[in-house]
Amino acid sequence: MGQLKMKREGLFSKLAINLMFIVYCAMCLIPVLLVLSISLTNEKSLLTDGYHLIPKEFSLIGYQYVFSGTTSILNAYKITMIVTAVGSFLHLLVTSLMSYAISRNEVRYRNQVSFLVFFTILFNGGLAPYYILITKYLHLKDTLLVLIIVLLVSPVHVLIMRNFFKALPDSIIESARIDGSGEFNTFFRIVLPLSTPVLATIGLFISIAYWNDWFTSALFIENNKLYTLQYLLQALMSNIQYLLSNEQASRAIEKSIGMLPGESARMAACVLSIGPIILMYPVLQRYFVKGLTLGAVKA
């Protein structure tokens, strides 16, 4: 009898736990689905019926408008992809080289270098001097380079990688050295191939950071040919006109539905910016969870 009661109680708590997670997951998913639904709804229906989770009147006009011969969103895609690819590659290269060197015990000044890296997590000079440095002294305003440079080295990533390299068995590196392998050769041929978990995780983090970066553009970019996806989205929120570089095509669409498909086009642009992340999500997630066990940051 007692056992039966316990079983039933266990069942009840299991049910409650699952219910709670289902509600929480719904809170994560529904907002994204809402954006998707708005992007697929007829503009007139949006104005009269409001937003719904399932489109009342299905229409692709938003997407058509976003792509209507205007080049701005495609250009933003191009810029974002270049920045993400080049930036992530350089980030991994610079970070792994530096972290490997300061993970080696035979490097005498490793602790001093680690401290200089770590200190920048704790203290910084603030935004204004940084802004002046980049615009006035380095003349990087309105360049593709600045979009890459701002996220090029992250002190936290350096420390995470250093801890990973520290855990690699010393004997591998020693024996390579005895076999006459130079330090760079050892690093690229032996150490890096052993480090795919940490490279994948940091690479994932930094590519997401590059992809989602709006702040660098907000600070340093005025030329609309250099708008990234996030920044274009931000600009679109206040003014849909940013999409119109081909007036003729957009006028034709406007005429055909009798209005400017502002809301659906905005949400369509938003969906297009999330698209690649959702498509990559299974891969992202796998490496993300794998990488979490790589160890915490400690100086």
Binding site: N18, F21, C25, T120, L122, L127, Y131, V153, F184, I274
Partner: protein, 329 residues
């Protein structure tokens, strides 16, 4: 003989102190280990230019910045920029909001995430746990600009989903974007939704790392599930929890680099909402890019950086006193 011995002793002493048998000068070390120092060079150069130079540039907080004369040529004006800031209404508002939101969010995220991490083991099916984890993690990968779109889709007065539901229930529509009080709840909620999944997954990884021996021993002693969580899981999770909290604390006052995009984007820079959405970061950014007041911006930025440093040092000291293994440094 005697001489030899003392030389050996000295070498041993040096080895104990420095970890090296032979004394070498800086230059000798550079030459001997040049490949490693070459590896360090690009990263170090970057950190010196982009992290340390601005620290020296922070002196403009004490100057009347003149773009033509540059940082060094501008006139010293002492604490005038600070005075201006601390006498304005904004000083109290942004400081309060920054501390309020960060503490609230740190505590809520930590408590909920630890709870989730424990409960995720109790769903009764590995598959369900995996599905919950993947869905919960998703918002973490979306930017705050996308967040702005989402909040707009939900809360837009005329068409938004929330007001749509209110109307269908016979309630009046609420004008979310013109009453600051709602944003005291919206901001933390948005933050939680983005952060909890990520933090929970980290804690789940830590929980699965706990040896099953502990739980088996506890079971033999007749411990209940609650007791196991209370006396095994939570204490063993503490080091990870503390490190994450310390790192976050450092971010609170980390000018420009912390994750403050929510406060800038979600309320759409609406002045009516500033009383509950303006934080130090948004203030610094606005005075730099919108108002174009470099002096004010740098003063507030420096204030932020110094308070942040002090905060981390104090908490780290406290953590170290309580448990030296969990401290950041």
């Amino acid at each position: 003989m005697n001489n030899n011995l003392s030389a050996a002793a000295a070498a041993q002493k040096r080895f104990k102190k420095t970890g090296f048998l032979h004394h070498r000068t800086f230059l000798q070390e550079m030459v001997r280990r040049w490949p490693f120092y070459l590896m360090i060079l690009p990263g170090m150069l970057y950190i010196v230019i982009f992290n340390y130079l601005p620290m020296f540039g922070a002196v403009i907080a004490f100057k009347d910045y003149n773009p033509v004369k540059g940082i060094w040529g501008s006139k010293w004006i002492g604490f005038k920029n600070f005075e201006f800031f601390f006498k304005s209404d904004a000083a109290w508002r942004v400081t309060f909001n920054t501390i309020f939101y960060n503490l609230l969010i740190i505590v809520l995220v930590t408590v909920i995430s630890v709870l989730f991490a424990i409960l995720l083991q109790e769903t009764g099916s590995r598959m369900r746990t995996a599905v919950y984890k993947s869905v919960m993690l998703m918002p973490f990968f979306l930017s705050w600009i996308v967040g702005e779109y989402i909040v707009y889709a939900l809360l837009n007065t005329d068409q938004g989903l929330v007001n749509g539901i209110r109307k269908s229930l016979g309630l009046e529509a609420i004008d979310w974007y013109s009453d600051a009080i709602y944003w005291r709840f919206i901001m933390p909620l948005a933050y939680l939704l983005k952060q909890v999944g990520y933090t929970s997954v980290i804690y789940v990884a830590a929980v699965t790392g706990i040896s099953s021996d502990y739980y088996e021993a506890a079971e033999i002693d007749g411990a209940s599930k609650w007791q196991k969580a209370r006396f095994i899981t939570i204490p063993l999770l503490m080091p990870v929890v503390i490190i994450l909290m310390l790192l976050w604390l450092g971010k609170i006052f980390n000018g420009g680099l912390g994750d403050w995009g929510a406060f800038y984007n979600l309320p759409r820079e609406s002045g009516i909402l500033f009383s509950s959405t303006d934080v130090i970061d948004t203030y610094v950014f606005r005075s730099l890019r919108t108002v174009n007041d470099i002096g004010m911006s740098s003063a507030v930025g420096l204030y932020q950086a110094v308070v942040g440093l002090v905060l981390v040092l104090i908490s780290n000291y406290l953590v170290k006193k309580y448990d030296s293994d969990s401290s950041l440094f």
